[in-house]
């Protein structure tokens, strides 16, 4: 035992000291890291609900294949307190890594209001374009929630009010993955969304 300690005292002492150092650094910076995450989320929501004055957050429970899942629903209100749209997170597998999106629907739950990409690590120059391409993301603005969106390879990208999404050239799999995520999430979320008559959410300022 003593021989063991004599040989490894430096490892044990360093591990202890480094552990303290890391714990201290983590404790002092974790609030900032969490604030950054929240800010990214808010920016995504604001990019979808551009006319919202304030956003309210409410946890909702979805029954995803028998397992209850808790997620957050973001409701956008205009200056008069009217609902301008709902935003909810959706995620799934992309081509190279997972894709995390925010999806917006309009108040009468008939059309999408747009999407925002929270996380995507797809092929640079191709699949990665779902993050910044206003043309690709713009196809979801005004697209109907029913029937489910389909991805086609060749088409008119400026037609945004039909259920056909034209994929990014050279990034078919990523485009299909994003669309599948949106379609699947809609089926899971539609039960939990409030109908237009209900105004249970209060705007937070």
């Amino acid at each position: 035992m003593l021989r063991f300690l004599k040989a490894s005292w430096l490892v044990l002492a360093s591990a202890f000291v480094f552990g303290l150092l890391l714990a201290g650094v983590h404790a002092s910076w974790q609030p900032r890291i969490e604030a950054n995450e929240r800010e990214k989320l808010q920016r995504g929501i604001r990019s979808i609900l551009v006319d919202a004055d304030s956003i309210a957050t409410r946890p909702i429970t979805l029954a995803t294949g028998g397992i209850a899942e808790q997620t957050d629903l973001y409701t956008g209100f205009d200056a008069a307190g009217q609902v301008v749209g709902y935003v909810y997170p959706a995620e799934g597998t992309g081509f190279q890594d997972k894709i995390k999106l925010l999806v917006g629907v309009d108040p009468d739950l008939s059309n999408y209001r747009g999407i925002a990409v929270i996380f995507a690590a797809e092929t640079p120059g191709f699949g990665d374009a779902i993050r910044d391409s206003a043309i690709f993301k713009g196809q979801f603005i005004g697209a109907p929630v029913d029937p489910p969106l389909t991805v086609i390879k060749v088409g008119d990208r400026s037609k945004t009010d039909d259920e056909e999404i034209v994929s990014i050239t050279g990034a078919t799999i990523t485009s299909e993955a994003a669309t599948t995520i949106i379609n699947r999430r809609w089926q899971q979320v539609r039960e939990a969304l409030p109908p237009t008559a209900q105004r249970g959410d209060q705007p937070q300022h």
Partner: protein, 247 residues
Amino acid sequence: MIDKGGAVIRRSADGGGGGGAGVAAAAAMVGAGAPAAAAIPADPGTGRIAVTQFVKQLWEENPTLRTLLGMCPALAVTATCKPALTMGLAVTFVVVCSNVMISLMRRALAPHLRILMFTLTIAVFVTIADLFLRAFLPEMSEVLGPFVPLIIVNCLIISRAESCAAKNGAFISTLDGFGAGFGHALALLMLATVREILGNGTWFDLRVLPSWWVPWTVMKLPAGAFITLGFMLGTITYLHTRRHGRG
């Protein structure tokens, strides 16, 4: 220092046999680097040695372009210049801090535990660098993605720990660390400049090529990285050989 250098060559050869591929590679690099260290004239004073190490690491023995260490981030994050610079500075921070820490512990390092101690120290500072990026530069952290934690296995840092920090005092190790880190950052920036200008028409996100330039998309992808790196290495090795003869 020359004697110690000789002794370390034998020790690291043994350590290379026992460890994994990465360790063997580091030990082989050390074996190659040690003869150069042995060429330092006897007792020129700590300051002179420190500055010599700094300058050598910066260009003549540039870790990425001459001894071919730290290639993984060199290819992965150099599509544009901003992530390349951020990665270069992160690696500099880690290599300097780990060099200082290792050189302060050098007399207590048991030979059979030193790789473990190196890795432990490097991992701590990489974690601090990663937390710093996530707290203060979140967009950069997202762009660099998994490559910041991967700095832990960057052979460059463990090679500097083994061949310099474990044998020299804190001041020499610090300047060696800065030289290696800045040399690596310089290599990354050279590669990123070519890739960004040709592949995007921008430099540090400022447009430098006129709008009629059709971007070479291959430069954004791994193929372009390898081709550019190949040309860079060829040119630099040719210039070095012309000046110094073979080797």
